[in-house]
């Protein structure tokens, strides 16, 4: 039973309003002498909205937004491409996978914050060191899912394709890839957010522009309103990228059956 789009939108707005109302109350109405969401740490929703408006109105935001978005998209694309390629490679070469398995897991456990100086050393202060940080997050998420996705291919379909005489390349194109797609997209939805996080953390740790830079500046001077405005803009833009991913997903997964018997 699909919900009507207009009703859905209404409900979504309702949730947003509820959250904002709670925030406003928490920041302005003391409960037992204490504020639930002290303004010093949380600002006030209205101030944040006003600041977001101001950032756009004065146009200062565009430059930063552009940089951060570029980094995010690059991190997302490079990281997921890498994750897909290496994931497929590992899944098809069990020996390689077995040998490198512990190392992949070890690298995944390195705190990216500590790696930042090394990326800056190698890639300079431009966008690439931030992209690299995002890539290290996105890569692993996509990698593990693609790796598993390939291993989940239906054995009968695979055997059939192999009997047809498909080469490894053809198997990839016609069997592994489409079969792993839904795994991949699941990881991509997670990754979109992480790509942005990587870019922003990179900027946060060293940069001269970008939303992370803005947030960092604001944090240093207790400008919580600025911090929240920055985060809000971030989050909104993730939705835009994710919307794109969902569109592609819909297109590529037309063949899936609607869940049977879910209609009533």
């Amino acid at each position: 039973m699909r919900i009507h789009p207009a009703k859905l939108f209404l409900l979504q707005i309702l949730v947003a309003v509820a959250v904002l109302a709670f925030w406003q109350v928490g920041a302005t109405v003391p409960i037992g002498g204490d504020y639930l969401l002290p303004e010093f740490f949380f600002s006030k929703p209205w101030d944040v909205i006003a600041r977001v408006y101001q950032l756009f109105a004065t146009g200062t935001i565009w430059k930063h937004l552009y940089i951060t978005l570029t980094e995010t998209v690059l991190a997302f694309v490079i990281g997921s491409a890498g994750g897909i390629v290496i994931g497929f490679w590992f899944a098809r070469k069990p020996t390689v996978a077995a040998v490198f398995d512990p190392y992949v897991k070890m690298v995944n456990a390195l705190p990216r914050v500590v790696l930042a100086p090394i990326f800056m050393l190698w890639l300079g202060l431009g966008i690439w060191s931030k992209v690299a940080l995002g890539v290290t997050l996105v890569f692993f998420i996509v990698f593990f899912n693609v790796y598993q996705g390939v291993k989940e291919v239906s054995p009968v379909v695979l055997a059939n394709a192999r009997m047809m005489g498909m080469s490894e390349r053809q198997l990839f194109r016609n069997v592994y890839w489409p079969s792993a797609l839904s795994w991949m997209f699941s990881s991509l939805h997670t990754s979109v957010g992480f790509a942005l996080v990587g870019a922003v953390v990179g900027e946060y740790l060293g940069s001269s522009a970008g939303l992370g830079y803005l947030i960092h500046q604001a944090e240093g001077v207790f400008d919580v309103t600025g911090v929240f405005a920055g985060m809000f803009i971030l989050a909104a833009f993730v939705l835009v990228i994710d919307f794109g991913v969902t569109r592609v997903e819909r297109r590529l997964l037309v063949w899936r059956p609607q869940p049977a018997g879910e209609q009533n």
Binding site: F40, M120, L121, S208, Q217
Partner: protein
């Protein structure tokens, strides 16, 4: 002629009052006047901006003088060319509720002390103070509370008894009435009490090789900063507040002015680092870090006063 008109400077937390001269030089247009096009990169901390310098991604850094000493030990030739802050600006404060129990550094025994980060200058200063008071570093427990709001939160929540921190956190805490000040190295009086003299804080430093290859660029930067120091010496708090971006005001102009007034004395007026203050800085490091051998450090290589001299001559 200027060899490299497009220079990148690194800084670890540009809005901090500690680095005020940098922001002023930029906002007053003194870099432009000197024929420079300066890009300022802000880093997550002082050590990160130093790493960026060593890695070659920035040309110069406004950072702690102490870095030049430590880098000598790491066989990196880093030299300061002008002093921006003559006092460290670090303040040790005690939570109001504990104020009657902790009246001196010696009372810090067993206390939980918040510092910006383990290993940072705020941490080292407390260790230095404790040593001077005849205590061991592990007589108190140190908690990294970060910069910014989390430091305020830690104090508010009563998770630390004392805090060693910089502005604006200290001013904010004072403003909120959370702390009493125990040691204040923002002022001449406080610094003399601790070190018996000056103790250089923020400086402008470069790699030695950069200085050698780009003397005119370094000169131009030094000139700009010297001019800023001179402007700052005479400026009223209102003028300063009007010059920095509004976002730097801590949400409240009067608070900013309060904070500035508290720090005002710590800004260098002549940009010079004399031998006594160098020794004082080295002493601070060697007292708290036994791995640094004072004999292996050649202090004359930490500060190159030639540019400052020319700047003054103009």
């Amino acid at each position: 002629e200027i060899e490299k008109p497009n220079v990148t400077l690194g800084v670890g937390g540009k809005p901090l009052l500690y680095y005020l001269p940098l922001t002023l030089a930029e906002r007053l247009g003194y870099f432009k006047d000197a024929g420079l096009n300066v890009e300022i990169n802000d880093f997550g901390g002082g050590s990160k901006s130093l790493q960026a310098l060593i890695g070659g991604s920035v040309d110069g850094v406004t950072g702690a003088y102490e870095h030049t000493i430590r880098m000598q030990q790491k066989k990196q030739d880093i030299r300061a060319v002008i002093d921006l802050g003559r006092y460290p600006g670090i303040v040790v404060g005690v939570r109001k509720a504990e104020a009657d129990k902790i009246k001196s550094v010696a009372d810090l025994k067993g206390a939980k002390i918040g510092v910006t980060a383990p290993g940072s200058s705020t941490y080292i200063l407390v260790q230095y103070l404790m040593r001077k008071a005849g205590m061991n570093p592990d007589d108190a427990s140190f908690i990294g509370v970060g910069g910014g709001a989390s430091a305020v939160a830690a104090m508010q929540n009563g998770e630390i008894d004392a805090i060693s921190h910089l502005d604006p956190v200290i001013s904010k805490l004072q403003d909120m009435g959370e702390i009493n000040i125990l040691v204040d190295t923002r002022t001449t009086e406080g610094t003399e009490q601790v070190f018996g003299g000056m103790n250089p804080a923020a400086v402008l430093y470069f790699k030695e090789s950069f200085i050698k290859d780009n003397p005119n660029t370094v000169q131009a930067l030094t000139n700009a900063f010297y001019r800023t120091l001179k402007w700052l010496e005479k400026a009223t708090p209102e003028e300063v507040a009007a010059t920095v971006p509004e976002e730097y005001w801590l949400g409240d102009k009067s608070l900013y002015i309060k904070a500035f007034n508290a720090s005002r004395q710590s800004y260098s007026t002549d940009g010079n680092i004399d031998e006594a203050s160098m020794k004082s800085a080295l002493n601070l490091i060697t007292t708290t870090d036994p791995s640094v051998d004072p004999k292996s450090i050649d202090l004359s290589k930490t500060f190159d006063g030639s540019f400052l001299a020319k700047a003054k001559g103009q």
